[in-house]
């Protein structure tokens, strides 16, 4: 089970909307206890592809985020990105580039901007499993 605060959830949505029409992306960090993960901090990074259909994290910002996580006592838990016009599920490219089997991959769909959909996935090779995600002000995905 993965928990994220309502504030961090809204932070992701607001940033993703601000980056439209491009995909937005970032990192998630916090604490892990077995399969349970608690998101304590969300990082908003630059999509250096500046594309509506692709994203790559800015390595310099990624490095700064990793250092900040370490200084804060958090561990990297995964990453997030938005799909501006498509559903919240991994594309073939998302699967191909998901190298870390321990990471959670958050995908935010903005197909319906008034009703964004955020899901978390475990990706290992071509196997994709939707993870239980709890948004702490009460909504469960």
């Amino acid at each position: 089970m993965i928990k994220i605060s309502g504030d961090d959830y809204r932070k992701i949505i607001n940033h993703a909307i601000s980056q439209l029409p491009d995909e937005a992306c970032g990192l998630i960090a916090g604490e892990a206890d077995g399969a349970d993960k608690l998101i304590k901090k969300v990082y908003l990074l630059t999509n250096i592809d500046h594309s509506n259909e692709h994203f790559s994290l800015d390595p310099k910002e990624q490095l700064a985020a990793i250092k900040d996580m370490r200084a804060s006592g958090y561990i990297p838990l995964g990453n997030w990105h938005s799909h501006p016009e498509t559903p919240s599920r991994p594309s073939e490219e998302d699967k191909r580039l998901a190298y870390d089997k321990n990471a959670s991959y958050f995908i935010l769909s903005l197909m319906d901007k008034d009703n964004p959909v955020l899901n978390s996935f475990h990706i290992e090779g071509s196997d994709v499993t939707k993870e239980d995600l709890i948004i702490e002000d009460g909504n469960q995905k």
């Binding site: 990192l27 594309s51 692709h54 994203f55 390595p59 190298y99």
Partner: protein, 73 residues
């Protein structure tokens, strides 16, 4: 000599190259990592020749990317 790898101080042999460190650290999928030494990124073509120095701070970063390309709407 002592260097810091992903925040951890380690004793390594003198003149270790980045490529040798990657192997020594058993980095998974090394073809998808970026390496920074003292906050400067080392080009992958220089991994085999870039010699680390005493006190260097090394970070391994996995490329992270993807996108919605190919998903039907």
């Amino acid at each position: 000599m002592k260097i810091t790898v992903s925040g951890e101080i380690k004793e390594v042999q003198a003149e270790l190259t980045v490529a040798e460190l990657i192997k020594q650290e058993n980095v998974e999928t090394p073809e998808y990592i970026s390496v920074s030494v003292n906050d400067d990124f080392v080009k992958s073509e220089d991994f085999a020749t870039h010699k680390l120095q005493e006190g260097d701070n090394v970070e391994f970063l996995y490329f992270m990317g993807g996108g919605s390309d190919g998903i039907y709407k």
